[in-house]
Symmetry: C2
Subunit: 225 residues, 2 copies
């Protein structure tokens, strides 16, 4: 990746409806959830700049956190949009032109610099890569009537996580057009026929959605420490 500029967008603008509050500012160990996620990117050598996308009410709080943590690569904190993909679009506007862009959920605090580097390596294959882990449980397709429609073969199923890594030009092109609501950025590139490579995430790279998830993350963090 020598000479190829890497930017990162950390999306933390979700309303936290299921959490009942600003989950990315909830304390986890010695600092807020978001600070763990950003720290992994600050530590990851190839990453040159970071944009953090926050809810409108949290931008000032984010600035105070940036000062307290001494983030040096974090060049902008901006306000997100209604949907996750609207927030990514806002982040893209603030990012310099890069060769590669890494997108990460601010609510996944247990990401590591090594995982980000794995993503950068994997993305060279096709220009797009997502962290993922094999699904452990049997997955059912369930109809609106609450009855099982189908049990797809588990061996082919992976749970996507972030980080996701993309050629910056691929990502810009995908975000230039109007797209349906998607649950991850990789899906926007898939729609355009770009192959997305899978690289090893980690089961402990949990997304904090509920208070139970936060307790889990605290537990995992203590184990790691």
């Amino acid at each position: 990746l020598t000479g190829e500029r890497v930017g990162a967008i950390i999306v933390a603008a979700g309303a936290g409806e299921r959490f009942g509050g600003d989950k990315v500012f909830a304390p986890l160990g010695d600092r807020p959830v978001l600070a763990h996620a950003v720290a992994a990117f600050e530590r990851c050598a190839p990453v040159a700049e970071i944009v953090v996308v926050l809810g409108e009410a949290n931008v000032e709080r984010g600035r105070a956190l940036a000062r307290a943590m001494g983030w040096v690569k974090t060049v902008a904190l901006c306000t997100g949009g209604a949907r996750r993909q609207d927030s990514v679009r806002e982040g893209l506007k603030r990012l310099s032109t890069c060769a590669w862009t890494v997108i990460h959920d601010g609510a996944r605090p247990l990401v590591t610099a090594e995982m980000i580097e794995r993503g950068l390596a994997a993305a060279r294959r096709t220009g797009a890569a997502t962290a993922a882990v094999p699904v452990k449980d049997t997955i059912k397709v369930v109809g609106p009537d609450g009855l099982v429609v189908e049990t797809p073969d588990r061996a082919a199923l992976w749970q996507a996580q972030t980080p996701q890594v993309f050629r910056h030009d691929f990502l810009l092109a995908a975000y230039r057009e109007t797209a349906p609501t998607v649950t991850d950025d990789a899906a926007l590139l898939e729609r355009r026929g770009i192959a997305v490579a899978v690289f090893a995430g980690a089961y402990e790279n949990v997304k904090i959605t509920t208070h139970e998830d936060l307790a889990l993350a605290a537990c995992l963090l203590r184990q790691r420490g």
Copy 2:
């Protein structure tokens, strides 16, 4: 369910390859993993009898545990087979004729009596029901080349868990025929055209596969207590 006999099969015969040992006998809080799972069934009023299926090397250990824990509904401990479904078949041979049979993974210690009762209620709809929770992460169908094939709509996807509850005659019929390897019992009934209803499991109803999962379960158990 008045007057309808309910039997339970708790499957704990897995080799624990990923765990590197007998995960169902690993300590969790004040007792082995398996003892938590069995206790929920012992406490669940509608359940009349329980069969526990163990690896060949563990049957004596299981008997000692049954005595130590004072299980009163557990009528048999038997040896399982090569695949999960072979173990269920062995369990079925030991169970009395019941109206309803509940199947549960011995490696899911955080099941509750309430969850089992929800399953018994749900199974009345079609004769078959599985505990499940909505999938949180985006799921990818991944090809053998490690590239994403498809991103199915997350809104329709659920992670199946156990307990799973079946009309005993439906289950016997499904196990009478030779079937391909499946990852859960509900899939065997689906193959026969029987509709399977979904009822609320719980995210904390984790399956212990790795040592990390055991640490998580310990954490969740402390939170509960």
